[in-house]
């Protein structure tokens, strides 16, 4: 159970971010040069691993757990609510859903507008775009791995969860050789947003002096409350949009 506390959110969040990173890598590799693209993506993974290793270990070793849970909990509430609100708006139809095929097409088009690939040696455009794309998408994963891992005292399982997600996305990407448009990204973001908000509220609450009534078991109650509230919010967003649409169509007297 304790292992899953850190591993599951890290796995789900990583799956979402690595799907997005895969789209960038595929677009660059297909249109320009695979070798430079893969070196760029690999370099970004090394940098991310170093960030998680250095910051994760430093935080676990140096920061007292009470301070850690307050600060990390606060960050997780902010970050979790951002993911959750975005997912609710997408599920309710207020904003467009993430479309990997459309993003891939836009990336390929942008890459074709770049100067031609050099005949020999590294293509630094491929390297830079792949490096930057994987690093930026991976930073969110690193943030979640470090915060969850450190606060739950489960840095290893969090890293394992993220690594498994990365390998899974990579394996499927190699197998299908196209963007993973069928992955239910919004559903995953919904789940991750719920988890981050739940754990963030719990840990930050402990940090400011809240006594949760059923100790750690309160996490399940909080998750259920936030899940029910979010599903209700999706309905309300849909109703508001429908009401706004009807009002616009109503004849002017």
């Amino acid at each position: 159970m304790d292992i899953m506390v850190a591993a599951l959110p890290a796995f789900l969040a990583s799956a979402v971010e690595f799907v997005e990173a895969l789209t960038i890598v595929l677009a660059v590799g297909v249109t320009r040069q695979w070798r430079s693209t893969l070196i760029g993506a690999g370099a970004a993974v090394v940098v991310l691993a170093a960030i998680v290793g250095i910051f994760g270990s430093a935080i676990v070793l140096l920061v007292p757990i009470d301070v850690l849970r307050l600060v990390v909990g606060g960050f997780l509430v902010i970050y979790g609510l951002q993911w959750l609100v975005k997912a609710i708006l997408r599920a309710g139809g207020a904003t467009s859903k993430h479309d990997e095929d459309a993003i891939y097409a836009a990336r390929v088009s942008a890459m074709r507008a770049e100067p031609p690939v050099p005949a020999r040696g590294m293509d630094w455009i491929s390297f830079t775009v792949a490096f930057k794309g994987v690093l930026l998408e991976g930073m969110e994963v690193a943030f979640i791995v470090v915060t969850f891992g450190a606060s739950a005292g489960q840095l290893g399982p969090a890293i394992l969860g993220a690594t498994l997600a990365g390998l899974l996305v990579l394996a499927v990407g190699i197998a299908v050789h196209r963007p993973l448009a069928r992955v239910p990204e919004n559903g995953l973001k919904f789940a991750v947003g719920l988890m981050l908000t739940t754990f963030g509220t719990f840990w930050a609450g402990e940090g400011v002096g809240v006594a949760w009534p059923w100790s750690d078991a309160t996490l399940i109650v909080l998750l259920a409350v936030f899940a029910i509230g979010s599903l209700l919010a999706v309905r309300i967003v849909q109703a508001r949009l429908q009401a706004a649409s009807t009002a616009r169509l109503a004849p002017v007297r």
Binding site: L70, G74, F75, V77, I78, Y79, L81, Q82, L84, V85, I88, L89, G92, A94, M139, E140, F143, T197, T201, A204, G205, G207, V208, G209, V210, A211, W212, P213, T218, L222, V225, F226, G229, S230, A233, I236, V237, R240, L241, A244, A247
Partner: protein
């Protein structure tokens, strides 16, 4: 050298701003305000058990407020 350092610093700041504040500043400000309010409440005698209920309701309220803000009709549309 200074301009390069400044550029990296600005980019670093912009990254974290985008990461934590983004296009929903109310979630950033609101979350900090909730934590501060609950901390003050506990310090002045709010029962820690009751504080758990207050905190949960405030977090739900903040999400609702952000959703309301995102879906409100724009003037002149």
């Amino acid at each position: 050298m200074n301009s390069t350092a400044g550029r990296y610093l600005r980019a670093f700041g912009a990254f974290w701003y985008d990461f934590l504040v983004g296009d929903r500043p109310e979630l950033f400000v609101g979350s900090i305000a909730i934590l501060a309010a609950v901390w003050v409440g506990v310090q002045v005698g709010l029962q820690p058990g009751l504080a758990s209920l207050v905190m949960t309701v405030l977090v739900l309220g903040l999400a609702a407020a952000s959703l309301w803000r995102a879906t409100r009709p724009t003037r002149g549309r």
